[in-house]
Amino acid sequence: MLILKDVSKLYQKNVVLNGVSYHFSDKKYCIVGPNGIGKTTVLMLAAGLESLSGGEVTFNDKSVFLTETKRYLGISSDKINLPGFLTAQQLLELHCSQHRCPFPTILINHLGFSAQLATQVSSLSLGNLKKVSLLLAVAHNPLCLLLDEPTTGLDSNSREWLLSFLNQYHGQVIVTSHEKVFTESAYYEHVDLTQLNKCNDIT
């Protein structure tokens, strides 16, 4: 279970998140809120990719900054700058080697990404970059998937497949999105960050 306890995040002196607490105990969540409220930041903090200015983030009672916890988490976000000089295949190989999981051939086929494997990440289109990012998030079958705007830039086939994949996903799924397929879906519990983020009280 992912728990945010009194989480705060400052960029330089700008308060982005203040006193955010939430227990993600169910299967599927969609974090909603206006642009700039800190949805992506919440995901980055939940995956242990950014340092906290205050508070604590744990997954199954262990800090998300621990290597053993990171094995259970998978994140896809455009904010993660992947090494552009590697090919998609190399990125996935390294990822699978680190997580000791098989190469995600089936997922690659579903996303129609096979032809792009040999392409350098820096040369990928926006949609294909999103596909690599998604593949890195799901390849190791994490217990908790953190997806930032997962459908942005995807072609219709890939989009359809992804939505059904997420609906059937065995682990926890936390997405941030403005899309109706998530915000109006009965599968997803909605978390309004505007109400959780006490940063608004300061401003």
Partner: protein, 367 residues
């Protein structure tokens, strides 16, 4: 057409101007002597031409001088590759209605400008060949000049460092011909053939492509370095230059102020090599989230990332000790100061050189 050449020329100058401050960023205080260093390197190389031209030069000396000269030219062109090929403006230049021949001729002209004396000097020397019989009896030098003409192509065309031409082939020639009577024409022809083969077929990269998949973090940085080798090469180039200058200064100064000179050179080299950490910091900064997501510990990444700097340091230490007789006590200062510089770059960024400089000053005082 002249306008196109003017654009290419302007891009070349602009890229060089961009490159020099970026080097200066790392070595602010060295920027003022950079131009001197380049010209000094060219002069050092030109002196070595007389050794190469002499048909009676020993095998060992021939390999060292020819390799050194070729490497100098290779690095000189490689460092300026982006500027010569206008790589950052490829799409714009391709959109211009200019014939391929004209584009190539522009590139050749800019390559000649970039390679200048080291590229043209062997050809100029050939002009002074008095007659055909001398030309034929001294055929090893025209063949060498031909291989020098191939070096810019090797440098501009290939992505990876030409290990075959500059490391493997010289070693094999040296081991294979050591003690045996050798023919300078034969050796130069063989070397020219290897350079041509490597230029067009890149046999080592064919092997590399069939290598194991990407499994370890260290491989990421290796790929990055091979894709953008300028920052490592520029340090190797200047380390080689500093060692050559140290050799010359030692020869001129004798033993009187030897220790102080040695510490001075160690100080410059440690700051030059240690400033490689700027590249690592830039990499960490650009891919912070991705790296945080990796499962290996950050201290392992830090240790792996300083390996290129450590390698350059160790090779420099060996050269300084074996070639220039630097004392072991002073040589030990180099890896120590490189590590201090690396740590200072991480901690103090632009003011990174203060602590290593103070350490060197202290060490000099103790001497």
């Amino acid at each position: 057409m002249m306008r196109y050449f003017r654009i290419r020329g302007q891009i070349y100058c602009h890229e060089l101007k961009q490159m020099l401050p970026s080097v200066g960023n790392l070595l602010t205080f060295l920027l003022s002597i950079l131009y001197l260093a380049i010209s000094a390197s060219i002069l050092t190389a030109l002196i070595s031409l007389s050794v190469i031209a002499d048909i009676n030069t020993s095998l060992e000396q021939r390999i060292i001088y020819q390799c050194g000269y070729s490497l100098l030219l290779y690095f000189l062109i490689r460092i300026q590759k982006n500027a010569i090929l206008s790589l950052n403006y490829q799409h714009y230049l391709t959109s211009l209605p200019v014939s391929k021949k004209f584009k190539y001729s522009n590139t050749v002209l800019l390559t000649v400008v970039a390679g200048n004396l080291p590229l043209l000097a062997p050809l100029f020397l050939l002009i002074y060949t008095p007659n055909l019989s001398v030309f034929i009896s001294q055929l090893h030098f025209p063949i060498f000049a031909l291989s020098i003409l191939c070096i810019p192509l090797l440098s501009l065309k290939n992505k990876s460092f030409p290990w075959l031409s500059f490391v493997i082939a010289p070693l094999i020639i040296f081991i294979g011909f050591e003690g045996a009577p050798f023919n300078a024409i034969g050796i130069n022809s063989l070397w020219l053939l290897i350079i041509v083969i490597e230029t067009y077929f890149e046999p080592l990269s064919l092997i590399a492509k069939k290598s194991l998949g990407l499994k370890y973090y260290g491989q990421i940085r290796w790929i990055e370095i091979t894709n953008k080798p300028a920052n490592v090469l520029i340090r190797i180039f200047f380390c080689g230059l500093i060692i050559s200058m140290a050799s010359y200064v030692q020869y001129k100064m004798g033993q009187v102020a030897n220790n102080y000179i040695q510490i001075l050179f160690i100080w410059v080299m440690s700051i030059l090599i240690g400033s490689y950490q700027f590249d690592n910091e830039k990499f960490y900064h650009s891919h912070a989230h991705y790296l945080n997501g990796l499962l290996n510990q950050s201290y392992i990444r830090y240790s792996l990332d300083i390996i290129p700097a450590i390698c350059i340091t160790l090779i420099s230490c060996i050269l300084l000790h074996l070639w220039l007789d630097f004392s072991l006590g002073i040589i030990m200062l180099l890896p120590f100061e490189v590590l201090v510089t690396i740590i200072c770059v991480s901690k103090f960024h632009r003011n990174f050189f203060i602590i290593p400089s103070l350490l060197s000053g202290l060490f000099m005082y103790l001497q």
